[in-house]
Each structure stands twice: as structure tokens, then as C-alpha cells.
């Protein structure tokens, strides 16, 4: 690729690419993010390439391999442009049929999406409720862009925002635009990005300034950043270059967790391509402005998502946070002023510059502008990544986009913010999703994980699960976090194992408040949130465990018994399935479970076709 020597060079290239493309040619789009690949998209790609070559149809039908589109429940899926035909869960054996249909310009009705509510067939992607009810500012780009082809990004108006910023020649203007947009950090704390950039811009130039992209997405169940890193890495690079121009930063670092190999691969390719074209590195587009980005990989620590621990990790030390002040904006990597932003925040920057701050601020609510990508997972029909305007209510996400509960059990709560957040009970689902409302309700927005829980989820078990995670991930530097998470886990473990007392509950709450107050960093300060939130909204479940020795959701093994009711037809299936031979009974006679031998593995319940196994 030839290096672009000026802004005009770039604009000429972009105009040529746009003019050269023919949007009427049918294109098979296969999302191949990590979730797509895990469900078999690679085989679909292989078959498609083979068929198109064999039939000599590579000019008439194009193939585009992209990152994740977000409807992970339906992966591996196929999208046919320009018709926008959506084939969910495309099987290997159907691939050839689909290709033939595309060649003839036909639609295979038996393979289309069926609306579970109405039973109707829905052909076009944008008419499926899951997609229709979102505002897909960022995710829609994943559909149109092949992440490892920079020309594809440019032809979709990529790097136009950078060109505009460089042509405008005013770093102050960029900072003003970002401030006016109202963009708040998408990493969880929600600090106004424009204000952070202004603080960095005002720091003395001296030894240089740095920008960091925090791609250490550590929350269990959260993978929004992964979809942007894998599907549209150039948007982050463009955002960072714009940020560097605005603040005077000279170096950038993308700190990505090592457990995202596809994201790392795509980032390395994207950085290399951007440098080759002259969009990154020395003398960008001939404007004498220089900025380069290094990739640093994490080493498996959730705590390194915390900004000061992240900086320590980049410096090569143990990932331990330090108290602030001084903030990273004053003293960051090697003591130099550093601004850290989340992946999604960076990805929004080109959008703001392209559309203009006031247009961007029209989406969302007054103090919470723009969209947010959430990973909607758990006991919900449509699991996947959803992008919604800030201020949308939880019920709209859970029902309108998520499609409601996955089976008969009713939805009980939604956990937001991962291990630092809390559970919002179903009775509060008309709460708008914005930073302030969620914090008031006892949870936090966090990075955007949204785990849906139903009646078969035990809230004590949920608190215990998160406390176990935090206990393992605590760096251990400060005493209350290290010991506090261990002790909170101990108490929750006792409660779940029929050893809980009322004194435990009191101690748990007291301990939780003390840890919240005294821990040094965000991990420790928010670690008690799952406990405090579940105590606040699901106190009755704790009492059931302690006073009545029962687990209402049927999860905590020491508190449940499996028994067979009168629906039993005596089919012998569970008897054969039981690994402990705890079930006895003859054919056509109601079977009986021996509670002393039963290990509560649940094998009998899952194999029974007559709903005859009760868990109490």
C-alpha cells in the first residue's frame, strides 16, 4: 500500500474507494468474531469460499468476513446484502443451498428467522425486534467492515473524522467538541471524557504525554469491548489519534487482555496497516503531527483493569493499585501525564467528530448522552450484545430486545456492572439505565455486563460466586480488601451450607460497609456491592436459608432435597441415570430417591420427561 502523504491524498483515496464499489452486488456477510467462530462460522466461510471458487462466481457474489454483529444466540448467522436477508443458525448443510439462492436472487423461507411471539417469518435483519429496538451506532459498523482490511474501513467513511480534525488545525476545538457531546467514560465510572482530555491538555508538555486504551475487559459475562476490538479495531486507533492531537499526547498504549487472541491479532494487523498508509506514526498525513501506539498484553489479572494497577503493569511491575492523588493525568506511566479511556469510549470519538457534538448529544438523556453496548446474557431468550440509548428502561431491554425469559421460570433480577455491581430486582425494571439511577439503586453501570436471573437462581449463591471471584482477583495489597473478601466469602459459604446464623447477617453487613469505606482501589471499594445489593433487595432469600434452612431457588446443595412426585410413570430412566444408584423402584412403579445417597447432581431431573423430580 502506498503511503498517503497529505490529507488531500487521503480524501482522493477515500473518494476513489467509494466510487469504485458497487453496492448492488450481492454480498454474503459472515460474522466471525470469537462467538461466531466458536459456533462454526469458520466452516461456513470455508464452504462459501470453496463454492464461489468452484462455480467461478467470485465476481458476482462477494464474501465479507466481519466481527461480531451482536445476535450471539443465533450464531452462526449469515447476512445477505443488499437485501438484508438474515439467516439465523445457518447449518453447514444449508450453506450450498443459500449460495445458490443468493445467485438466483431468491430467499429461502424455511431458513428465515421466526418471531417467537407471532410465529411470523421475518426476512430482513432490521425488522427483527432484537435489532429493530436497538440504536446500533457502533455495532452496525461491525456488519459493514472487514476488520483486517483498512481500505474497507476507509470506504465506510473511516478516518474521515481524523482528516477533519487535522484539517481544522485546532486541538482546542476537538476538546470543546468532546466536552459538548457529553460523552462519559464507558469503562464504568462515567467520568466526562472531555474534562479528562482538557486536564491532560493542560499538563506541561515536558517529557511527553500518553494515552492508554483500557482493553483489559475483566468482568465475567462482559464482552462488549471484545466485539469492538475484533470487529472494528481501526475505530479505536482513529479515536486515539484524534485524542492525541487534541491533548498533545506523543505515545499511546493499548493494554489488551491476553485472553483475547483474535482481538490481539486484529489489532496488530490494523496497527501495521495504519502505519503503512501513514495514518499512524511519524508525520501523519504530512501534517508534522506524530503519534504511535504500542500494544501491551495483560497477564491474567482482573485488578489490572483498574487504571493505576494497569499503569504498574505496563511499567513491568506487579499489578497493584496505588492511592490517588496524584491522578494518572498528573503522574501516569513513568510519572508522565497519562489519560486512560475504555475501548468503547475511544470508538465513540470518530462518531462524535463525524456527526458533530450536538447530533451525538441528541441520543440518550440530558447528562447521559450517546449509546452504550450491553452484553445481555443469562436466563434470557436473545443473548448477545445490544446497543441502546442511555436512559432506556431495563424492561425495554429485557423484553423488547431480549425477548423475555428463556422458559417458564419468571425473571427475578438483572445484575449490572459485573462483580462491582448489584442486582436490580424485577419490581424495579422501569428504572432508566443511566449512571445516576443505577448508582442510586445500589448497583453501578460498570462496563456493561447485564446478567439476567430467574427464579432458579439463588441470590445467596450469586453473591457467593462474585465474592469468590473477587477474593481470587484481589491484588492483596491492602488488608481490608484481601481479608475482607475472604471473610465475606467465608460467611456466604456458611450461609449456603446450612451453617448461617442471624449474627452472620449482621456481621456481613458491618464488614461490607467497612471494606467499602477503607479499601484502597475501586476493586475493593465496590467488592461489597453484590453482597449489599442482594441483602437490600433479597433479604427474604437470606432469611429462608438461615431460619428455614431452605434454598428457595433449589441451588444450594446442602439445603435442598430431590424427591419424586406422583407424575412419575416408572420409566426407569432416572434410575439408570443416577451416578450414585440412589434411586430405587420397579417398572411402572413410582421411583424413590434415597436422600442419604443423593449427591444432588440433577441428572435425574434433567432426564425426566414427566416433570416428576422436585427440588425443595
Amino acid at each position: 500500500m502506498e503511503r498517503l502523504k497529505s490529507i488531500d491524498n487521503f480524501k482522493a483515496l477515500q473518494e476513489r474507494l467509494i466510487a469504485d464499489r458497487d453496492l448492488t452486488i450481492p454480498t454474503i456477510v459472515i460474522p466471525a468474531g470469537t462467538c461466531g467462530q466458536a459456533s462454526g462460522a469458520n466452516d461456513l466461510i470455508r464452504i462459501t469460499k470453496r463454492e464461489l471458487l468452484a462455480r467461478e462466481m467470485t465476481e458476482e457474489i462477494h464474501l465479507r468476513i466481519t466481527g461480531c454483529h451482536g445476535f450471539c444466540e443465533m450464531e452462526p448467522s449469515i447476512l445477505i446484502e443488499p437485501r438484508e436477508t438474515f439467516y439465523p443458525k445457518a447449518g453447514l448443510n444449508n450453506m450450498v443451498k443459500i449460495i445458490k439462492a443468493v445467485a438466483r436472487g431468491e430467499v429461502l423461507e424455511d431458513l428465515l428467522f421466526v418471531d417467537p411471539g407471532t410465529g411470523e417469518l421475518v426476512e430482513k435483519k432490521n425488522e427483527i425486534p432484537f435489532f429493530k429496538n436497538q440504536v446500533r451506532t457502533l455495532l452496525s459498523r461491525n456488519e459493514r467492515i472487514d476488520p483486517i482490511r483498512i481500505y474497507n474501513y476507509i470506504e465506510n467513511r473511516g478516518y474521515s473524522a481524523l482528516a477533519r480534525v487535522l484539517a481544522h488545525r485546532s486541538p482546542e476545538w476537538v476538546v470543546k467538541e468532546i466536552k459538548a457531546s457529553g460523552l462519559r467514560g464507558r469503562g464504568g465510572a462515567g467520568f466526562p471524557t472531555g474534562v479528562k482530555w482538557e486536564l491532560l491538555a493542560n499538563q506541561p508538555d515536558g517529557r511527553g504525554k500518553l494515552l492508554i486504551c483500557n482493553a483489559d475487559e475483566g468482568d465475567p459475562g462482559a464482552y462488549m469491548d471484545r466485539s469492538v476490538l475484533e470487529g472494528n479495531p481501526h475505530s479505536i486507533i482513529e479515536g486515539m489519534i484524534i485524542g492525541a492531537y487534541a491533548t498533545g499526547a506523543t505515545e499511546g498504549v493499548i493494554y489488551v487482555r491476553n485472553e483475547y487472541p483474535l482481538a490481539i491479532k486484529h489489532l496488530i494487523i490494523a496497527l501495521r496497516q495504519a502505519r503503512e498508509l501513514g495514518l499512524l506514526g511519524e508525520d501523519i498525513l504530512g501534517t508534522r503531527f506524530s503519534f504511535d501506539i504500542n500494544l501491551v498484553r495483560g497477564a491474567g489479572a482482573f485488578v489490572c483493569g483498574e487504571e493505576t494497577a494497569l499503569i504498574q503493569s505496563i511499567e513491568g511491575k506487579m499489578g497493584e493499585p496505588r492511592q490517588r492523588p496524584p491522578f494518572p493525568v498528573e503522574k501516569g506511566i513513568d510519572g508522565k501525564p497519562t489519560a486512560i479511556n475504555n475501548v468503547e469510549t475511544w470508538a465513540n470519538i470518530p462518531v462524535i467528530i463525524e456527526r458533530g457534538a450536538s447530533e451525538f448529544a441528541k441520543i440518550g438523556t440530558k447528562n447521559n448522552s450517546g449509546t452504550k453496548i450491553f452484553s445481555l446474557v443469562g436466563k434470557i431468550k436473545n443473548t448477545g450484545l445490544v446497543e441502546v440509548p442511555m436512559g432506556i428502561t431495563i424492561v425495554e431491554i429485557v423484553n423488547g430486545i431480549g425477548g423475555g425469559p428463556v422458559d417458564k421460570a419468571k425473571i427475578k433480577a438483572v445484575q449490572t456492572g459485573g462483580p462491582s455491581g448489584g442486582c436490580i430486582p424485577a419490581k424495579m425494571f422501569d428504572l432508566p439505565v443511566d449512571y445516576e439511577s443505577l448508582t442510586e439503586a445500589g448497583s453501578i453501570m460498570g462496563s456493561g455486563g447485564m446478567i439476567v436471573m430467574d427464579e432458579n437462581t439463588c441470590m445467596v449463591d450469586v453473591a457467593k460466586y462474585f465474592m469468590n471471584f473477587l477474593k481470587d482477583e484481589s491484588c492483596g495489597k491492602c488488608f481490608p480488601c484481601r481479608k475482607g473478601t475472604q471473610r465475606m466469602y467465608e460467611i456466604l459459604d456458611d450461609i449456603s451450607k446450612d451453617k448461617g446464623t442471624l449474627a452472620h447477617l449482621e456481621l456481613l453487613e458491618e464488614l461490607a460497609h467497612a471494606v467499602k469505606d477503607t479499601a484502597m482501589c475501586g476493586l475493593g471499594q465496590t467488592a461489597p456491592n453484590p453482597v449489599l445489593c442482594t441483602l437490600r433487595y433479597f433479604h427474604d432469600e437470606y432469611m429462608e436459608h438461615i431460619e428455614n434452612n431452605q434454598c428457595p431457588a433449589g441451588v444450594c446443595k446442602e439445603l435442598i432435597t430431590y424427591s419424586i412426585n406422583e407424575n412419575c410413570t416408572g420409566c426407569l430412566l432416572c434410575l439408570q441415570a443416577c451416578p450414585e444408584e440412589a434411586i430405587s423402584g420397579k417398572k411402572k412403579e413410582r421411583h424413590v430417591i434415597d436422600p442419604d445417597k443423593c449427591i444432588k447432581c440433577g441428572a435425574c431431573k434433567s432426564i425426566c420427561n414427566f416433570d416428576a423430580v422436585d427440588v425443595m
Binding site: Q323, K471, K483, G484
Partner: protein, 225 residues
């Protein structure tokens, strides 16, 4: 000179003074465990926490690491602070009950019981020994390893240290217990010497001029037979 308000009193302090130093200068008692004058502050024990700011924006921070800011309002013994300190002391007693330092601190704050499962650890990971070795003795022989429950202090890869001069400062400074190192149990070793069979002090013939301050190690005396 920076003006701060501690418990309502107006104090003028020099730049780069921490809130802890300013409060102690005025005679306000603030308990500490991982802090030592002469060593860099670490902020691990969180006993020195104070409340700063006012109203809804009031925060709890560790005074040993927080620099004095112009107009800062500090309360060293508000109810929130006292509750926090008491809980931390309970946790400390639950882990390390045999330490006299911790017992004295607990008694001074009227903490007479602890409600957790009793453990007997002999390291509270306050890092004083690490900082002593690095900053005062300039040896940097020991450091932290691991994360969370598996965090411990020792030499790199538990190999016998080449830079440890057996000065004993790590044992001297330790607040957790007086018998920090007993060479018989390698897990409690600090210099890594006993874990590796022949520490230089045992081969006394080669090191006649060496003066050992590792009390009460006395490995050399015991091996003498």
C-alpha cells in the same frame, strides 16, 4: 505553606506533608501499622484512614499517603472512621492474634472480641520488611509474590539470596510477631538460607569475620554439634 483544617483546627504545613504527619504534629492520635518514619508510605493496613471533605462528598482515605491540600478538611475520629478502624482491628485479630502490637492496638480501640473464624498467620503483608530491606538496607533481597490469598513475602523463587546480609532488619521491624523467622520451618524463612541447605553462616570457617544479627536464628549454634 499549605493550610489544612484538622478536626476544626487550622494547621499550616509545608509542601509534601502528608495528612498523617500534619495530624500527628498537632497531637491528634492516628493508629498505624504499616507506616514507619523513614520508610516510604505504603497504605496497606488502612488503619490510618481519616475522613476528608464534607457532606455527600466526604471520602475515607489513608492519611499516610494523602498529601496535604490547600483548604482540606480532615476529621481523624469521626464515627465512620472509628467504625472502620474497629472492623479492621477485628479482622487483624482474627488473622494474627498472637501479635502484641495488634493486641495493644485492639485494646486501645476497645475491640475485645472478633467474630470470624480464627486463623493464626504470622504475616499481615504490611510490607515493612520489604521496604526496610530496599530503602534502609539497600539490599532489596525480599519482595511480594502472588495475588490475593496466595500473596506472600520472600526471596525471588525462594532461592537463597545473594544480597541478603543477614542484618535482621526485617525481623526487627515486623509488627506481626516477634519470631518472624525460625529457620526450622522453611516456609517462614526470610533470607531463603535454610531452604537451601547451607547458608553462609553455617559454613563459619569460610566467614570468620561475619557478624550475624539474625536473632534468634542461631542455626549456626545448633548445627555445631
Amino acid at each position: 505553606m499549605i493550610n489544612v483544617f484538622i478536626n476544626g483546627l487550622d494547621v499550616s504545613v509545608e509542601e509534601d506533608t502528608t495528612v498523617l504527619e500534619a495530624a500527628r504534629f498537632m497531637g491528634f492520635p492516628i493508629p498505624t501499622l504499616c507506616h514507619k518514619d523513614g520508610l516510604s508510605p505504603y497504605g496497606a493496613c488502612r488503619l490510618c484512614v481519616v475522613e476528608i471533605g464534607e457532606g455527600a462528598k466526604a471520602k475515607i482515605v489513608s492519611s499516610c499517603t494523602y498529601p496535604a491540600e490547600e483548604g482540606l478538611k480532615v476529621r481523624t475520629a469521626s464515627s465512620r472512621v472509628i467504625r472502620a478502624r474497629k472492623m479492621i482491628l477485628e479482622l487483624l485479630l482474627a488473622s494474627c492474634p498472637q501479635s502484641k502490637t495488634i493486641q495493644d492496638l485492639a485494646a486501645a480501640h476497645e475491640v475485645r472480641q472478633q467474630r470470624f473464624r480464627q486463623e493464626h498467620e504470622d504475616c499481615i503483608l504490611c510490607g515493612l520488611c520489604v521496604r526496610m530491606c530496599e530503602e534502609q538496607m539497600m539490599a532489596k533481597a525480599i519482595g511480594f509474590r502472588g495475588r490475593g490469598e496466595n500473596r506472600s513475602i520472600g526471596t525471588p523463587f525462594d532461592i537463597k539470596s545473594e544480597v541478603c546480609r543477614l542484618c535482621g532488619a526485617c525481623m526487627y521491624i515486623c509488627p506481626a510477631c516477634q519470631l518472624r523467622c525460625t529457620f526450622i520451618e522453611p516456609e517462614r524463612a526470610i533470607c531463603g538460607g535454610c531452604a537451601n541447605l547451607t547458608p553462609p553462616c553455617i559454613e563459619k570457617e569460610k566467614f570468620d569475620d561475619m557478624m550475624c544479627y539474625m536473632e534468634p536464628c542461631v542455626a549456626c549454634e545448633i548445627k555445631k554439634d
